[in-house]
C-alpha cells in the first residue's frame, strides 16, 4: 500500500527529529501569550507550546503564506506560522461562541474541543515550499508509474491518484498537502511524541489522554470518518464551508497585501448555530449571519483576482515551476533531497529553494532571476473579452498540458528563442461555491442553504468563471512580437483559438 509506504518514509524522517526534540523540552507551567496583528492577544496552552516549538512547526515560519505574492505586494511576507496560530485562535473563538450562544443547551465535548484547536494549529504542517505553488507541481508525482495524488481530478480509475483509490472514504476530497499532513500526524513517530506530551500535561488537562491524532488528522482532511455526522460541526470548524482557515487567511492576506477586504467576523460569532437535522449536526448561522458569509465569498473572489492571479504573481509562479522542474531533473539537490519524492516537500522550505546551494547550475540562474525580480512579462492576455468567437472560447478551455508545451515550443522556435523563454499560464479558478453550502436557520427547525436563500455562491461562481484570466509570458524584450506569434500559433491549432486585439492591448505590449 502506497499509504503505508509513504508513512514509513515520513516516519524515518520524523523519528530522529522528534526523539532529539523530546530530550530538550521541559514541562511548562504557564500558557504562553502571543500578540497577533489580526486577532490581538491569544493564549496557547503548555501542551500546544510543545507542538509550536517543534522544528517541524517552526519550519512554517519559512513558508510565505501567499507564496510569491511578495514580489508584487511587498508587505506580503507573512508566513504559514502566524496563519496557523491565527487559525487556532479563530477555532477557539468559534467554539466559545457556539457554546455561549447555545445558552447551555449544547455541551461541547472537552476532548473534541482540544482536538479542534490542535487540528487548527497543525492543519498546514506538511505544506511544501511556496505552499500551493509547489503543490501544483508535486501533486503530479508518480510511484511506479502511477500518480500518487493527481488531486483527484482524473476520472479513469486505473490511473487516478493511488492514495485516493486506497482509501476514498478519507482521501477522496483532500488536497495533496492535506493528505501529506494526515500521513505525517499518523506516523508512529508523531503518535509516540504525542503520548510523551500527554504524559507531561495530563495532570493539568485530563482530557488530553483521549485526544486521538488520527481524528485530528481526519478533521484536517475534511472527512467525517472518525468523527461521525453527529459531530460534523467540529470538523467543519477545521475544514468546512466557513472554517477557521478561511476566517483567518481572508483578513490576514488582505491586511498584508493592503487590500481592503471586509469580513465581519465579530458579527459572525454572534450568529453561529449548530443545526441538527436527521442526527447530523452542522455548523450554520441564523439569518443575520448570512451577510457575513457573503462577505467571505466575495473576499475570496477578490483575493484571487487581485492577488493570487495577479499577472506578476503568476509570472513568478512560472519561474518557480521552471526551478522545480530543473531541480527534479537532478540539476541540483536542495539539502540533498530528491524533488521527485513527495516526502521532501514536507522538509524543504522557501529559503531552501531560493538559497544559494545551487551554485553553478541552471537552477542558480533561475533563483537569481527570481531574487532580482526579473520576472517574465505579459505578451498576451487571454480572458473573456479577448475571444473572437464562442467556439474559440470553448477551444481554449480544452487546452491540455501537451497543447501548452506545443504552443510554447512553436513560438520559441519561430522567434529563435530559448526553451523556457515563453510560458503559457492558465491558472485554475478558485472554489467559491462551497461557502454557499452553509446552513442558515430561518426559524427553529427551518433551515435553508445560504445558496438558496441568496445566490451569493452562484454569483461568485459566475464572477470567477467570467473573470478568469490566462497569460502568455515571455522573457524576450520584444513582447509584441511574441504576442503576435502566440496569437498566430493559437489560431493555427487543429481546434483554432481566435483572439481579438484586446489580448494584445491588455498585455500592454
Amino acid at each position: 500500500m502506497l499509504e503505508a509506504k509513504l508513512r514509513t518514509r515520513l516516519n524515518d524522517y520524523l523519528s530522529p527529529l522528534l526523539n532529539d526534540y523530546q530530550k530538550k523540552i521541559t514541562r511548562r507551567l504557564e500558557p504562553k501569550i502571543f500578540r497577533d496583528v489580526i486577532w490581538g492577544f491569544h493564549n496557547y496552552r503548555p501542551y500546544e507550546i510543545a507542538i509550536i516549538d517543534l522544528p517541524l512547526f517552526q519550519r512554517l515560519r519559512n513558508l510565505f503564506q501567499t507564496s510569491l505574492a511578495l514580489f508584487t505586494y511587498p508587505c506580503a511576507v507573512h508566513s504559514r506560522f502566524e496563519h496557523s496560530l491565527g487559525v487556532a485562535s479563530v477555532a477557539s473563538r468559534l467554539l466559545s461562541a457556539i457554546e455561549e450562544r447555545s445558552g447551555g443547551h449544547l455541551d461541547l465535548n472537552p476532548v473534541m474541543k482540544l482536538e479542534v484547536r490542535l487540528a487548527a494549529l497543525l492543519h498546514d504542517l506538511a505544506h511544501g515550499p511556496f505552499s500551493h505553488s509547489s503543490e501544483k507541481f508535486y501533486e503530479r508525482l508518480t510511484d511506479e508509474g502511477f500518480p500518487i495524488f493527481s488531486h483527484n481530478r482524473i476520472s479513469n480509475r486505473r490511473i487516478t491518484g493511488r492514495l485516493n483509490l486506497e482509501r476514498p472514504e478519507l482521501f477522496a476530497e483532500s488536497s495533496a498537502s492535506e493528505l501529506l499532513t494526515y500521513l505525517l500526524l499518523t506516523t508512529d513517530a508523531f503518535k509516540t511524541f504525542w503520548k510523551f506530551v500527554v504524559g507531561m500535561y495530563e495532570r493539568d488537562e485530563p482530557s488530553l489522554r483521549e485526544v486521538d491524532p488520527e481524528r485530528m488528522a481526519s478533521m484536517i482532511l475534511g472527512a467525517d470518518l472518525k468523527i461521525g455526522s453527529h459531530g460534523r460541526f467540529y470538523r467543519e470548524i477545521v475544514n468546512g464551508p466557513f472554517d477557521a482557515d478561511k476566517l483567518d487567511y481572508l483578513p490576514r492576506d488582505g491586511y498584508f497585501t493592503g487590500l481592503d477586504l471586509r469580513v465581519d467576523i465579530e458579527r459572525l460569532l454572534h450568529t453561529l448555530k449548530v443545526v441538527t437535522q436527521d442526527s447530523v449536526r452542522t455548523l450554520g448561522v441564523v439569518t443575520s449571519g448570512s451577510s457575513v458569509l457573503e462577505q467571505v465569498i466575495f473576499a475570496k473572489s477578490q483575493l484571487f483576482s487581485s492577488v493570487y492571479h495577479h499577472h506578476k504573481v503568476r509570472a513568478a509562479h512560472q519561474l518557480l515551476l521552471q526551478l522545480l522542474r530543473t531541480l527534479s531533473e537532478g540539476d541540483s539537490r536542495p539539502r540533498g533531497l530528491d524533488l521527485n519524492d513527495p516526502v521532501s516537500y514536507t522538509i524543504l522550505d522557501d529559503y531552501d529553494l531560493l538559497g544559494s546551494a545551487h551554485a553553478e547550475s541552471k537552477a542558480e540562474t533561475i533563483v537569481t532571476t527570481i531574487k532580482a525580480r526579473r520576472l517574465p512579462k505579459r505578451a498576451l492576455v487571454i480572458t473573456y473579452p479577448c475571444f473572437a468567437d464562442g467556439e474559440s472560447r470553448e477551444n481554449f478551455n480544452r487546452l491540455d498540458e501537451d497543447d501548452v508545451k506545443l504552443i510554447e515550443a512553436q513560438v520559441e522556435s519561430e522567434l529563435n528563442l530559448h526553451p523556457g523563454d515563453v510560458m503559457v499560464d492558465i491558472p485554475e479558478p478558485p472554489r467559491v461555491f462551497g461557502t454557499g453550502q452553509a446552513l442558515v436557520e430561518l426559524a427553529p427547525g427551518r433551515t435553508m442553504l445560504l445558496q438558496e436563500l441568496y445566490p451569493a455562491g452562484a454569483w461568485a461562481k459566475a464572477y470567477v468563471g467570467y473573470r478568469r484570466v490566462a497569460y502568455i509570458f515571455t522573457t524576450s524584450v520584444d513582447r509584441r512580437k511574441v504576442g503576435l506569434a502566440a496569437k498566430d500559433a493559437l489560431r493555427k491549432l487543429a481546434d483554432p483559438i481566435k483572439l481579438n486585439e484586446n489580448a494584445l492591448d491588455l498585455a500592454k505590449t
Binding site: N152, N156, E173, F433, A462
Partner: protein, 139 residues
C-alpha cells in the same frame, strides 16, 4: 487538442473529471435539457456517483437534508463556467448549455477519447435526466 488524429479510448489515457462532467452536461443538453439548477446538479451527482463509479474518480459527498457537495465536482464545474458552459442571468442558479454548443463538445470529446467514452457516459446521462424529471415532478 493539438493532435488531429482520432484517438481510441485507451485505458491509460487521462480523462479528467472536468471532461466527464462536460460530457454528461452535453449529453443532457443534446437531449433537450439545456438548463440544470446547480444545487440539483450536485444533489443528483451525489446520488448517482457510486452507481457510475467506473467513470469517476473516488468521490466523497457531504450530504445535508438540503444538499450534497463535493469539492472535486465544484472544481470541475468551476473550470467549465464561462468558457464551456454558461451561468445565465438573472439568477445565475442554473448551468446552461445550448444544444449546438453541446454538439460541438460531444464531437470534440469523441475525437479525443473515442466513441466508447460517450457510450459509457450515456447511461449516466439517462439516469441523471430521469432523476431531474422525477425531482421536478415532486417539487
Amino acid at each position: 487538442m493539438a493532435t488531429q488524429t482520432v484517438s481510441p479510448h485507451a485505458p491509460t489515457q487521462v480523462i479528467s473529471l472536468r471532461d466527464t462532467v462536460l460530457g454528461l452536461i452535453s449529453l443532457m443538453a443534446s437531449q433537450g435539457r439545456t438548463r440544470v439548477p446547480i444545487t440539483e446538479f450536485f444533489k443528483i451527482f451525489g446520488d448517482l456517483h457510486e452507481k457510475f463509479s467506473s467513470l469517476l474518480p473516488p468521490m466523497l459527498f457531504t450530504h445535508t437534508a438540503h444538499s450534497a457537495y463535493s469539492k472535486q465536482l465544484d472544481d470541475a464545474l468551476q473550470s467549465l463556467v464561462g468558457y464551456s458552459v454558461e451561468l445565465p442571468n438573472p439568477t445565475l442558479q442554473c448551468i446552461e448549455l445550448q444544444d449546438q454548443v453541446a454538439k460541438r463538445h460531444l464531437i470534440w470529446l469523441e475525437k479525443k477519447f473515442g466513441r466508447n467514452f460517450i457510450d459509457c457516459l450515456e447511461p449516466f446521462a439517462r439516469s441523471f435526466l430521469a432523476e431531474l424529471d422525477s425531482n421536478q415532478r415532486t417539487s
